[in-house]
């Protein structure tokens, strides 16, 4: 089984440690992982701005690069959701349907495909879980607070097995952080206010670290945290899972 690792463009540029942690975490499970060097983007930034037709070439390139892998794994629920949901506008060849059905957000891949929930991780900190919307409501990684029924959360299951971690309860368990791609810039005032409120919920409950399945949420929150010289830190989920004693 060969895994194709998809690393979102901004993670490659700004957060290589998240990509390294993803790679190492997968390799530790005895998997053969490849990172195709000619990968670019899933096309989401273009499509969410209302230009999905301009993203078609990007979609086709994505499929060309990743279709020969058994699974495609990425540390971004948002990109994975985009491929699954919005690659519907290109011709649904076998390659395309393969990519759309075999692409997984990394925590979902670890739990649902590999059946692994414990990685001997050690992270002795107070952590708040920011449930990135596309992972939560798009990929069903957990039960959103609006939906009535049994509680479940892939991420909480994984974090529950991390030694030393103290997971804080937030006032609003799954409020959006306000990133939203181009929304962060076009609706700057509301986006920033949403981010501030999300951070304050974590600070109020003495979280040292905010974690999430999407680095884009965390990039936005970190941008506000650093601008305001706040003490709380951000860490992608895979960085926590890949931390050992």
């Amino acid at each position: 089984m060969t895994i194709g690792l998809f690393i979102p463009c901004y993670v490659n540029q700004f957060y290589p440690n998240v990509a390294i942690a993803s790679l190492e975490l997968l390799e530790k499970q005895g998997l053969k992982v490849e990172y195709p060097l000619n990968q670019t983007c899933c096309g989401q930034p273009i499509a969410n701005s209302g230009f999905e037709k301009s993203a078609i070439e990007t979609y086709n390139l994505f499929v060309k690069i990743f279709h020969h892998f058994d699974y495609i794994v990425s540390p971004s629920g948002s990109c994975v959701y985009h491929v699954k949901k919005h690659f519907n506008i290109i011709n649904q060849s076998d390659e395309v349907t393969h990519v759309r059905s075999r692409i997984y957000e990394i925590s979902e891949f670890l739990v649902d495909v590999l059946g692994k929930e414990n990685f001997n991780s050690y992270f002795p900190h107070r952590v708040g879980l920011h449930q990135s919307c596309h992972g939560l409501r798009g990929l069903n990684l957990g039960k959103p607070s609006e939906i009535m029924g049994e509680e479940y959360s892939v991420i909480k299951k994984l974090l529950g097995n991390v030694k030393g971690i103290e997971l804080v309860t937030l006032d609003r368990e799954d409020e959006c952080c306000g990133f939203g791609g181009s929304f962060a810039v076009t609706e700057e005032a509301v986006s920033v206010k949403m981010g501030i409120d999300r951070i304050n919920d974590h600070i109020k409950h003495n979280a040292e670290v905010i974690t999430a399945t999407d680095m884009s949420c965390l990039m936005h929150l970190e941008g506000i945290i650093r601008k305001r010289n706040l003490l709380v830190k951000v860490k992608h989920l895979v960085e926590i899972l890949n931390s050992t004693n």
Binding site: I7, C9, Y10, V11, N12, Q13, F14, Y15, P16, A19, L23, Y35, L37, N38, Q39, T40, C41, G43, I46, A47, N48, S49, G50, F51, K53, S54, A55, E57, T58, L61, C133, H134, G138, P144, S145, E146, I147, M148, C176, G178, G180, G181, F183, A184, V185, T186, E187, E188, A189, V190, S191, V192, K193, M194, D197, H220, G223, I224, R226, K227
Partner: protein, 455 residues
């Protein structure tokens, strides 16, 4: 006219007010969660309601005709209006025929949509909104900021001031009991003097020809019972096929809207009292056109509960007026572009696409996927924002060509590392006014990978 981002920015100048507004509406969302969690099979109920509405919309022509036949049998007089202007003319004509000068109205977003108050005002008819929240915004000469709680943006102290000015009340420091009593006295007088009552319609039952109006204040009943003329105004999408379907919607409506099990009054109107007149005005005003758009038609399932507004993190932090539409919030952002694409072109972008709206919707409208689809329609039809267009086009070129992408991202990365932060910050103004750019690491992951895995 300014778009949503500018209006939202103005709203955000007063952070304390934003916090207060956000908290009030979040409280309503929490009440909704609490009461919904007590209904066994809530999700199944939503599914059922959604399917009934989908079915109704698929045979809307038949159900409308059935409704008209039944309503006429009940001695209601039925009128059809293709647009707002026709609606207003019909209502005025009926009022004029009855020589009605003083009209009490219970809450109706449709008459708001048609601009009825303004129209009748010019004809020297005194039209009074009798729902407390509606009356407050009417006195303030503002549109409602929310479809269920029209004055949710007003603080008690502001209402105190407004009543003092218009109703000559004492300034009470925002004493809600005093203000509610004074409003009651004021409105009671309006009911007693009224010649006609106008109501909206929450549901119309095709099978029986009845209309159902849900209120908490009983003001629809007060109006209808204190006058000889009742005019009910409804959009064509208000139908449910049978009386037995009503229970499903009534169980969902108030719980989704305000977290109540049911509204205090659920009034069924069938036939006028002897000597009275009962008119029903059925309005299209763009709805059948909307029904003709496969990607967007199911937004007509909406039962106007406002739950999507209460849950929307953007609505809570930008206020209903920032949408500048009769129906604000997520549902307004997918309905309004269907009526006027260029006027409402900023609304589908006023969302982080978090998806919470679709999850609370009692009739399961796919609100956030429709926001996404409207964005595609808008960018294709409008060439206003050419620069953004070009930037997106270039980036799509870059993302679709690995070599170009590498060159550009390398340059972008380098420029962040080498240029003084003041310059890079000004390059990306929209991001950096309140946020820092990410720190640039020594190596990209690609560089690391080449060194560590490709030796």
């Amino acid at each position: 006219m300014i778009g949503h981002p500018q209006a939202a920015e103005i709203f955000n100048e007063d952070e304390e007010r934003v916090n207060w507004h956000d908290k009030s509406l979040w409280g309503v969302r929490q009440k909704r969660d609490n009461v919904a969690s007590k209904v066994k099979g809530w999700e199944e109920l939503r599914e059922l309601a959604s399917e009934i509405k989908a079915h109704t919309l698929s045979k809307l022509d038949e159900y409308l005709i059935q409704f008209e036949i039944q309503a006429k049998k009940n001695r209601a007089i039925v009128h059809w209006a293709t647009n707002a202007e026709e609606h207003n003319k019909i209502v005025y004509k009926i009022l004029n025929e009855h020589n009605a000068k003083n009209v009490v109205k219970s809450k109706s977003m449709l008459t708001e949509e048609c601009g009825l108050n303004h129209y009748l005002g010019k004809k020297e008819i005194d039209i009074v909104d009798t729902d407390l929240g509606e009356r407050i915004v009417q006195l303030a000469k503002e549109p409602p900021s929310h479809i269920v709680m029209p004055a949710i943006h007003k603080k008690r102290e502001e209402i105190d001031e407004l009543f003092h000015q218009h109703l000559k009340t004492e300034l009470s420091g925002g004493d809600e009991v005093y203000l509610a009593r004074e409003a009651r006295k004021h409105l009671r007088q309006k009911f007693l003097n009224a010649d006609a009552a106008i109501t909206g319609v929450n549901f119309a039952v095709a099978e029986t020809g009845i209309i159902v109006v849900c209120t908490n204040e009983g003001n629809a009943d007060m109006g209808v019972h204190s006058t000889k003329l009742h005019i009910a105004c409804m959009g064509i999408e208000k139908l449910v096929p049978k009386l037995e379907h009503l229970g499903i919607f009534l169980r969902l409506l108030a719980r989704s809207a305000t977290g109540q099990p049911i509204t205090a009054y659920t009034s069924h109107f069938r036939s006028p009292k002897k000597g009275n007149d009962f008119h029903i005005v059925i309005v299209d005003n763009g709805r059948s056109n909307h029904l003709g758009m496969p990607d967007f038609r199911n937004s007509l399932r909406c039962i106007r509960c406002g739950a999507c507004m209460n849950t929307c993190p953007v609505y809570r932090r930008s206020g209903g007026h920032s949408y500048n539409a009769t129906v604000p919030g997520p549902i307004g952002s997918i309905l309004s572009p269907g009526f006027d694409l260029s006027k409402y072109s900023s609304l589908p972008f006023a969302s982080s696409l978090c998806g919470s709206c679709s999850n609370v919707c009692p009739v399961k409208i796919d609100i956030h996927p429709q926001l996404y689809k409207w964005r595609q329609v808008i960018t294709e039809k409008s060439h206003k924002d050419r620069i953004k267009n070009i930037v997106i086009f270039i980036s799509s070129r870059i993302f679709s060509k690995p070599s170009a992408f590498k060159l550009c991202s390398k340059f972008g990365n380098l420029s962040l590392r080498l240029l003084p932060q003041s310059i890079t910050n000004s390059l990306v103004k929209g991001w950096t006014k309140h946020r820092m750019l990410p720190k640039v690491p020594e190596n990209t992951f690609t560089e690391w990978y080449k060194k560590n895995r490709m030796l």
